[in-house]
C-alpha cells in the first residue's frame, strides 16, 4: 500500500469513527426534548453493549476444535480474579494479556 492509500484509509477510519459518535447529536439536536424511549435506551444499552463487546472480541475463537477456547477462558478467568482481588484494572489487563500471549505462542501452538 502506498503512503497516499494508507492516508486515505486512516482518514476514512477517523471519519467513520467520528460519525458513530456524532450521529445521536445530529438526530436529536439540542433544544428539542429527546424522546423518552431514546432516553431509556441511553440508560440501559451501555451495559448490554459491554457484554456484546466481550463476545465481539471472542468472535473468531475456535470453540469446536482444539484448544476449544481454553487460552481465552483461562486468560479471562485470570483477568477477573486479579481485578476482583486487587481492584486494579491495569494489573488485571496487563497480566491477562501477557498470560494469553504466552499461552498462544508457547503452550497451545
Amino acid at each position: 500500500m502506498t503512503t497516499t492509500e494508507a492516508a486515505i484509509m486512516v482518514a476514512l477510519f477517523a471519519l467513520a469513527t467520528f460519525l458513530t459518535r456524532v450521529l445521536a447529536f445530529l438526530i436529536f439536536p439540542a433544544g428539542k426534548p429527546t424522546p423518552k424511549f431514546i432516553g431509556y435506551l441511553g440508560r440501559v444499552l451501555p451495559f448490554a453493549i459491554t457484554s456484546m463487546l466481550i463476545v465481539y472480541c471472542l468472535k473468531n475463537s475456535e470453540i469446536l476444535a482444539a484448544p476449544h477456547g481454553a487460552p481465552e477462558l483461562l486468560a479471562i478467568l485470570l483477568v477477573a480474579a486479579l481485578f476482583l482481588a486487587f481492584k486494579n484494572s491495569l494489573v488485571a489487563i496487563a497480566a491477562g494479556t501477557i498470560a494469553y500471549m504466552v499461552m498462544v505462542q508457547l503452550i497451545f501452538v
Partner: protein, 229 residues
Amino acid sequence: MKHTLRAVFPLTIPVLTGYVFMGMAFGILLASKGFAPLWAVVMGVFIYAGSGQFVAVGLMSAGFDPLGAFLVTLMVNARHLFYGISMLERFKDYGKAKWYMIFALTDETFALCLSAKPPTGISEKRFYFTISLLDHIYWIIGCTLGGIIGSALPINTAGIDFVMTALFVVIFLDQWRLKQNRTPALIGLGASIICRIVFGPDLFILACMAALVIIFGVFRKPIERSVSQ
C-alpha cells in the same frame, strides 16, 4: 487550570495506565505490519478508538479497500451511537467544546463521565473537558511509545489483541457491582452469544444491536422496574 487538573488527574489514573498499555499494544501491532511509528501517532490523534484502531491494523495490512474500511469501522464503533444518546443532555450547553467532547467520546471517557462528578468550584464543562483531553493525551502517548518500541524491537505480537478482551472484561465486572446494571448486562450477553451463533462472526454486531433495541423495547416495563431498583 491547576485547580482543575488537581481534581481531575487522580480520577483519570486508571485510564492513564490502561491507555498507555493498550496504546502501546496497538503501536507495537501496527509496527509489526511494517508501518513507521508516525502512523501510530497519527491514528492515535485522529481516530482515537481502542478497538477501532486494532481492527484498523488488520484492515491496513489486508490492502487498500476504502469502502470496506469505512463500513467495518462504522460497525465496530456503532455502540458509540448509544453513548451519544446518553450524553445528549450533558453536552447541550458546551458550545464549541461540544464537538471535541463528541470526538473524544471513547468507552473509557464515557464510563468516567458517567460516574465522575465535578467538585464544587469547578465548572462542569471544564471538569469533563479536562477528563476528555487528558484521556486523549494518554492514548497518544501509548500509541507513540508502542510505535517506537515495535519498530525498534522484534516482538512476537500473536495474542496481543487480547488486551481489548481484558479491558472489556474489567469494564463488565466494574459495571456488575451495581445491581441495577445486571439485567441489561445479562440481556446483552445472551443476545450477543445467540446472534454470534446464528449470524456468524461478520454480521452479528449489526444483528445484535437490532435485537437489543427490539428486546429493550418489548420488555421495557419489567426492565425499567429492575433498573430503577
